[in-house]
Amino acid sequence: MAKINPDFAKELKEYGALDLNACYNCGTCTAVCSLSDEDNSFPRKMIRLSVLGLEDELQSSVDPWLCYYCGECSETCPQQTDPGELMMTLRRYLTAKYDWTGLASKLYTSKIWEFGAIIFLAAFILVLFIFFHGPMTTELTDDGGVKLNTFAPWKIVEIGDWIMAGLLSFFLLSNIFNMYLKIVRNDKSIKIPLKLYFTEFWALIVHFATQLQFSKCDTELTGKKYTFSTYWIIHWFLMTSYVIMLIMIMVFLGWFQTDNIYEWWHPQRLLGYYATIGLTIGIVYFFIERIRKKSEKSKHSHVTDWTFLVLLFLTTITGILVHIFRIYGMPYPTYYMYVFHLMVLFPMLMIEVPFSKWSHLAYRPFAIYFNNVVIAARKQSK
């Protein structure tokens, strides 16, 4: 027995849902969805649960993570309920609910919190630099580059990175654990043999590395010439760039942040270029998509979508500028840009990775993994 909560739909609107109440339950969205199957039939079920405000069921559902927003449901919805956007909204909602600190919820639903947090974290970096920066020497290296490591020694920055990484991982992993509790442990009636956690583990690896589900959207199921692969390639390009960058600054900062200027073919520079080009192309593509609003998935932009893109864009641009100023021997621009770069980078990572959009990268493969475990367990118990 469940009580209906009509106010929930209003709450959900803050995460971005549009006219979800318009739904008259025809099921077209579920029937056209190429990712929906008998085990996981969505998105109508999600709309229904949202309209009725059955939060427990919503929170224990993996369906929102299985959706990759190809937009077929929104395009074909006879009531223009926009199920695709509702699924996006539910991902924001779930991200907020997995987060035990409650920060994610505040960041999603309040612009003051969102921008306040960015400014606060940026200011924190600025203060650190004002008080603890190294000497701002105008002396150049033998190659004519700026001595960045004198101003900001990589060893110290790396310690900061590790602290940040520790925090990020702690928040993200504890949120994923929370997700695990909601999805897998919610239904106490199903016994899950330990073995399944290992046998289904491949899903996590594969989906994390490839975002494989994405490509399934690209079928000609609906008879339309609609290529989703462009989108997938760019997304993949952007994601690998991002991961490369992340690894270089987190693990190999000593190698990455050098005062030497290597030849252009040096792996340090090549990797850096790949990543910056990947990021720039990706960001510009998504900028254009969101402005043109042509495809379903870019029609509706929540404020956090824009913040994320803008922060990532600024991080990339400032990173490129630091690189240019450094190799062309412009000390002060290099120092200021470096500070500014970190002022953008730090809030972006602190906010996006555990609490916002970037966490989706982790939640999606985990959701598929958890879902496979549950389905396998259900099949075994039958």
């Binding site: 025809c26 056209v32 199957d37 039939s41 919805c77 006879p78 223009q80 199921l221 008879g223």
Partner: protein, 430 residues
């Protein structure tokens, strides 16, 4: 033959609504001109099989009205004629320009169909919704009124055979468009409706998968003058034994711009399903629906009767259709009651297409534009107490020109239009 050019009433459209309105007014004593753009009067109803919920045959009910209209001393009929413009000069004073298109066959035609036999051209028969061929010279359909042949000049090979063989010397290629101006005192719009074109929803594969048909095509398959020798699949002539109906194709759908319900599809599909169970006793029929709108007198009982006969009703709209090698079709839908997406195989799929306004009327009125509602039907300016009234005094609306309607509602609406028109005529110059 010289036609008079003054009438009391101009009824636009020779369907059931136009006929009912014309008959009512003619019975009161007014002179009525009925104008039909098609070759025969009778509208869409004359092509139907049996009609719900009484299940008496459409033709049995239409034909007496058709012949009564055709014979009524107070009614003149122009078929194959379009109205170019209507102008209102003052109350009870309208003029209209009619353009009668050439049939290339004169009234001497006896309907013997010898010409049809000889004509070498075969093109799609629009009265059988393209499921079979017809000749370039043809009697529109067996119970057409007038039962006079016409030549489809676009597809004519100009061989002249018909003219050679016609025993009545009725072929006349010299005919040209005839334009005439008439004076009338009041106008009744009964232009009816169009059916939704399902090619606009490519997911259903209509036009690509030949075993996906419209309900109108199925309707034709169920009448005695059907295109095939039984209910058969248009692709390979196989007798179907597992038929699906998809409701709300082109209605209640914002994506194609028609958010309203067509009011008849639920019932005509239930009716066809019942008839199919009679025609093909071994067949299974499944109806996929969103809501069953069995609202009228006897409708709910009719729906229950269908269920009792074994029609399977599944709540859930079909999302898409795929075709198999053997011509069978896979429909993908969400079974709403179970909340699960499913696929089912059928050997024939019928799309229950919705009703859209026939907006021919919108361009006819010259000096005052006729107002249309949000869905492009004629706007009823006083819907509650004068349902036939339009924004132009003296112009009334009957039948599906003002919105989707079933046959009894159309007939009543035509009755209302005739009463309001009669009141207007009696009122004289106000």
């Amino acid at each position: 033959m010289t036609q008079p050019n003054e009438f009391d009433v101009l009824a636009i459209g020779g369907g059931i609504a136009g006929e009912e309105a014309a008959l009512n007014l003619a019975n009161i004593g007014y002179k009525v001109l009925l104008v039909e753009k098609d070759l025969s009067i009778g509208g869409k109803m004359i092509h139907l099989s049996k009609v719900f919920p009484t299940l008496d045959c459409g033709a049995c009910i239409t034909t007496p009205k058709v012949s009564e209209t055709a014979r009524h001393p107070n009614i003149s009929i122009y078929t194959n004629t379009v109205i170019e413009d209507i102008e209102k000069h003052s109350e009870n004073d309208f003029s209209a320009t009619l353009v009668e298109k050439p049939r290339y066959v004169t009234d001497d035609c006896t309907g013997c169909q010898i010409c049809e036999e000889k004509c070498p051209v075969v093109v799609d028969d629009q009265y059988q919704w393209d499921m079979v061929g017809r000749k370039a010279i043809y009697i529109p359909f067996s119970i057409a009124n007038p039962r006079i042949a016409a030549i489809d000049i676009e597809n004519c090979s100009l061989c002249g055979l018909c003219e050679k063989v016609c025993p009545a010397d009725a072929i006349d290629f010299t005919q040209e468009e005839k334009r005439s101006t008439i004076k009338i005192k009041t106008v009744i719009i009964a232009t009816g409706f169009n059916l939704f074109d399902p090619t606009l929803i490519p997911r259903y594969g209509f036009g690509k998968f030949q075993n996906v048909v419209t309900a109108m095509q199925m309707e034709r398959q169920l009448v005695p003058t059907r295109p095939f020798n039984n209910v058969l699949r248009p692709k390979d002539g196989k007798m179907p034994d597992n038929i699906a109906y998809i409701l709300c194709v082109g209605s209640r759908d914002e994506t194609i711009g028609n958010p309203i319900c067509s009011q008849v599809c639920c019932m005509y599909s239930t009716k066809q399903a019942q008839l199919l169970m009679g025609a093909l006793p071994m067949a299974d029929v499944t109806i996929y629906y969103i809501h069953i709108r069995a609202f009228g007198k006897g409708f709910c009982e009719f729906y229950q009767q269908g269920k009792g006969m074994g029609i399977e009703f599944i709540k859930g709209k079909v999302g898409l259709i795929k075709e198999k090698e053997n011509g069978n079709l896979i429909v993908r839908y969400e079974d709403i009651q179970e909340g699960k997406v499913k696929e089912a195989e059928h050997d024939l799929v019928v799309l229950s297409v919705g009703i859209l306004p026939n907006t021919d009327f919108s361009t006819m009125f010259k000096n005052t534009k006729i107002e249309q509602d949000d869905f492009d039907y004629v706007k009823q300016v006083d819907e509650l107490s004068s349902p036939a009234k339009t924004n132009i005094d003296g112009v009334f609306v009957a039948g599906t020109s003002s919105g989707p309607m079933d046959i009894p509602d159309s007939i009543l609406s035509a009755g209302a239009a005739s009463a309001e028109a009669a009141g207007y005529l009696k009122g004289g110059k106000k």
